[in-house]
Symmetry: C2
Subunit: 242 residues, 2 copies
């Protein structure tokens, strides 16, 4: 496990991550923002977060982008979680997140695997809980955009039993890898771990639904991921407390 | 594209790959052996193949292993396709196949994705054609071992329509990556490409079944993979000719 607290660089106020929040400002559940939180900790970078809601487009208009995460690092503004991870590797090259060449390319595949295969299965499990966790002012926006994407009502998408079956199949190679390795990226967590963890943290913060059998390797991995970087994710408020 | 013919090292007779053959000795369809053929070409290594059938356990007993591929490289014997790829990287470090560290670890994930998610879908499409391509003496052995693995009769597993649906879903992140990149590993093919290609070559050699929509990025990628390394795979005899 990396001990990041001992080598934090810079002043926290130099760096800001604009971070999606829910009905309570302490509820932070964006899978893309969680990638960035753990990536910042991985690099030992101090920062503060700025809470943001779906409809607060003007608040991040300076970034010429309409979604979070947005990273402000001194004079630099970076949008898109994967681009932020790439920026962090370029700017702070110790402890690579994505790496370069084949390593980067395989991380890109893994990102697409998470977004196209894992997250849709999770969405079917937690969608109604997610709607409930979102700020009331954002719910119509969330419903309209997601129903347009999926071409389906949220109530039709919602099917935790089918979602779990789908998730179980999709995770077969992940569980096989975690039988052999402590983390996806080897003995210590790195980019691939954060890419996958973001999606599970999203589900974990908004929902009490079980995501996987506790005997599966991924269950132990998730517990470890909650504990790394001084328990950064494990200490985050969820709907269980807020 | 790598031009391997200009830098082949050593004499072909120094190196042997024991290679699964079918009812006709020219039919070579093992997905694991195809990984090795392309990996050898990637490293510019000349070699010869030794045809082998499932039941010829004594022929490879010297390797203390009962399956192919087996690589004999001078005095060294290596078994298991992924171990062979690793051995090639260690022994001939130019043009990495799997790489090291995160790169290796992500290739290991990709191997498991191919074996646990992609190949089972392909199996449902081509299983009866595969049985037909196997040497008659090997068919009972093949049926018994596979039916024990799947706990199902081969005739029940066989369902090309469902197999193609399953394959299409599983390949979603692969198609997304190949929209952005010429090869899985970037501008040139490497380990991840060979790992996936082996499984498609297996299906391609034994079966006339369509595997994917010709408009999908993976279809163009497969054509390119048949052409690389002087058309090594594209020139291999299939059930269309033999």
């Amino acid at each position: 496990m990396l001990n990041t607290s001992s080598f934090k660089r810079g002043e926290p106020m130099d760096r800001i991550v604009y971070d999606l929040c829910g009905r309570d400002e302490r509820l932070r559940f964006s899978p893309y923002c969680w990638r960035v939180h753990l990536s910042m900790a991985h690099k030992g970078l101090a920062y503060r977060t700025e809470p943001w809601r779906f409809q607060q487009k003007e608040k991040i208009a300076f970034a010429d982008h309409d979604k979070v995460p947005v990273l402000v690092d001194g004079d630099t503004v970076v949008t898109d979680s994967f681009e932020i991870m790439r920026y962090l590797d370029q700017t702070y090259p110790d402890a690579p997140l994505l790496g370069e060449g084949q390593s980067y390319q395989r991380a890109l595949f893994f990102k697409l695997f998470v977004e196209r295969s894992v997250s849709p299965a999770l969405f079917r499990i937690v969608v109604m809980d997610l709607l409930e966790a979102i700020h009331p002012d954002d719910r119509d926006y969330f419903r309209e955009t997601r129903e347009a994407n999926f071409k389906m009502r949220l109530e039709e998408l919602h099917n935790p039993t089918q979602g779990r079956e789908q998730l179980d199949k999709v995770l077969t190679p992940v569980n096989a890898l975690l039988k052999e390795s402590a983390f996806l990226d080897g003995e210590a967590p790195a980019g691939a771990d954060y890419l996958l963890f973001g999606s599970f943290m999203w589900a974990h913060v908004v929902s009490r639904e079980a995501l996987f059998d506790e005997h599966q390797p991924i269950s132990r991995w998730f517990e470890k991921m909650l504990a790394i970087h001084d328990g950064m994710a494990g200490q985050a408020p969820t709907v269980r407390e807020v």
